[in-house]
Symmetry: C2
Subunit: 256 residues, 2 copies
């Protein structure tokens, strides 16, 4: 099985390296950014190109790991209808491949990747969708090769899953960021919050976030909430966020 | 050294047990709720009372682990001016002890506690404040006995630290909760997000949340944001939260 990677970002890097380690042949890397393409190709011990017309045309699978906007541009100038085409994005419907190829699917690892940090694919859920059962089987085989947990997720489900991931990852990270801003004000290093942040994330591995919810907003402790809003009086944006989330937490917990 | 615990909630339970394990004598537990008091006293192999007038009056330290409102009520009907009085709350200033005792302080473990889950105090930062250096030394000694990391934090700093903790813990947990609501809609179990949530929390143990920030809001990917808002059109509250946080993330990352 020969694979070409379209893209050389964090996801492409980790996924390509993990597949290669399991014996899959990564034949070539394509990226518009030469330095990134070269770097990943070196790690994979394969060739690379920055020119779409030079893409190796005999691969079995073309893996797209690109930003959404780049994905559309690349796809249009690509003409290999006999191979399997697979994208890795949370918010791109599988139907984007309609008319481009006969065999296609989605292989979406639900995780946040950084280039520097090692990745253990056995801990990552892979969301799979495919146009036919043979392609589906191939994608499941690849995920199983990585010892990943696999989920059959439709395009319709995947776009909501991606929305859920924005809350669970991007927005929770922004809550950490706000807390780091508040700590700057009092000259205390962010590391004082490390254990609390980790424990908050560990808790919901075994109980629901609804059950894990604590804090002044659940019981709508008026006095503490007022004090907190008062401390945020010079930070209008943060005050708005504090108010809105507190109100919402309270509403959710009063309801039941 | 003899200690009395005022309160029998999660924090009181874990802290009292951890201290006992290190050889400290917990003499008595006071709680308004008889069943809780009895349960904790049994674990500690000590006596308990639900009557303030029956509190053991020869202890060296009285540890208050109560909700803020209960703290004030209890404090007023308490007359042991010669012992050390210590509260464990994030948002109560130390000065609340003024006129109640001569020796007092704060011992605030910055962590979220659940009764069922074991606690490793060596991983918990303890924020200490004391009215004099001798009391401060005693509180540092207790924290060191637990192998905790210690921080000298003033009441002024502590109230902002508590605010930061609300964002880092309570509000990030609410982001998880929202994501669980979205998953319910598509019939996918919350465990699909476990690895993502854990990795998001692990990331900020080594890089700042500012550097770790990813997602459509950072680059203000209009198309994805519009799609997400559209999916939330029947959930006005969530839509408001999504919009406000996305706008704020974008502003923060554009600035620099």
């Amino acid at each position: 099985m020969e694979i070409v990677f379209i893209g050389s970002g964090s996801l492409a890097t980790h996924l390509a390296l993990a597949l290669k380690e399991k014996g899959v042949t990564v034949k070539q890397v394509f990226s518009r950014t030469k330095s990134n393409a070269a770097k990943l190709a070196e790690k994979l011990d394969c060739s690379y190109t920055t020119d779409l017309s030079e893409i190796y045309d005999k691969a079995d699978i073309y893996f797209y790991a690109l930003k959404d906007s780049a994905f559309h541009k690349t796809l249009k100038s690509f003409d290999l209808p006999d191979a399997i085409h697979v994208h890795t994005g949370g918010s791109i419907p599988m139907s984007e491949f309609d008319g481009i190829a006969r065999k296609y699917g989605v292989f979406y690892p639900l995780q946040t990747f950084s280039k520097e940090k090692e990745v253990d694919f056995s801990q990552i859920p892979i969301c799979i969708e495919a146009v036919d059962s043979e392609t589906q089987r191939i994608l499941f085989d690849l995920a199983n090769l990585l010892n990943s947990k696999t989920f059959l997720i439709s395009s319709e489900q995947r776009k909501k899953l991606h929305l859920a991931a924005v809350f669970a990852c991007n927005f929770s990270n922004y809550m950490y960021d706000i807390s780091s801003l508040i700590l700057e004000d009092i000259g205390v290093g962010f590391e004082i919050l490390h254990p609390l942040i980790l424990e908050t994330a560990l808790k919901v591995q075994s109980v629901t976030p609804f059950k894990a919810q604590t804090g002044p907003a659940v019981r709508f402790d008026d006095k503490i909430i007022k004090n907190h809003l008062n401390m945020l009086k010079n930070r209008r944006d943060l005050k708005k966020i504090y108010k809105l989330i507190s109100k919402d937490i309270h509403k959710r917990h009063k309801k039941i």
